[in-house]
């Protein structure tokens, strides 16, 4: 499946990027395509395109703060968790995404 998502933590220095790396690693290991945007102290990086969002089967938001441009994901299947969850259990989170998608079909 195709996953897009955003990671954004409280301070925007560390957890954001660790969550991004862990989720990307877990999704790729499970054979999925993934692209994670980060919103941190440095600003937005790896910004998701409208096309990427349109094509995505599911959206994972790993955030502790209010996201910029959250409305981009209106109408999509969204899983929203704290960054800690993405850091602690990235594999479980990807599995959850698989389950949510299976329910939909």
């Amino acid at each position: 499946m195709k996953i897009v998502g955003v990671a954004a933590c409280t301070v925007g220095i560390a957890h954001t990027y660790i969550a991004q790396e862990k989720l990307e690693g877990a999704a790729k290991k499970a054979g999925h395509e993934i692209s994670m945007e980060t919103q941190g102290t440095i600003g937005t990086e790896n910004e998701l395109s409208a096309e990427q969002i349109a094509e995505a089967d599911i959206v994972i938001l790993a955030t502790d703060v209010k996201l910029n441009n959250r409305e981009r994901f209106d109408g999509k299947r969204i899983i929203e968790v704290a960054t800690d969850i993405a850091v602690k259990s990235p594999n479980k989170l990807v599995k959850k995404a698989e389950e949510v998608l299976a329910q939909k079909q």
Partner: protein, 150 residues
């Protein structure tokens, strides 16, 4: 841009012998002070502890990433300590920590985009299990640098 640019062997310590979180934080902040990354150790520590109160900085796998933004940071950088024994810490997996990475970031980061970018690249590495494994087994500061080079 190379992650190495943000790493400084003078702010790394392997075979560290801290018994508590506070000892470890003070030892690493001391390295940051000696090497001119921060201007005031007590007030820097206060900002670090303010972040500690919000939530766990132990990310599991025996790694902790204490950080916070502080007015007493002169230059963005990191101090890295590899401790000989496990230190009690608030962590996501309920283990203690052996690898402590203390981030120093200012409140005003104008003109520091390059360093912030390097820091984000560095933080990503900590989400990689292979890097963490190498880091925890570092015996010399060169090993620490090497762990992040891959």
């Amino acid at each position: 841009m190379e992650i190495n640019e943000i790493l400084n062997e003078r702010t790394m310590k392997t075979n560290m012998n801290a018994g508590t979180k506070d000892e470890a934080l003070h030892e690493l902040a001391g390295l940051l002070l000696e090497n001119d990354y921060i201007t005031d150790i007590d007030r820097f520590m206060k900002d670090i502890y303010a972040r500690e109160e919000i939530g766990q900085t132990g990310i599991g796998n025996y790694i902790a990433i204490p950080h916070g933004k502080s007015d007493f940071v002169k230059e963005i950088g990191v101090a890295i300590g590899i401790n000989q024994s496990e230190i009690p810490w608030e962590t996501l997996d309920d283990h203690g920590v052996k690898g402590i990475i203390l981030f120093a970031v200012g409140n005003d980061n104008d003109g520091a985009d390059n360093h912030l970018k390097l820091l984000s690249m560095f933080a990503r590495k900590l989400g990689n299990d292979d890097v963490v494994e190498k880091l925890l087994h570092s015996e010399r500061t060169e090993d620490v640098k090497e762990a992040f080079a891959g």
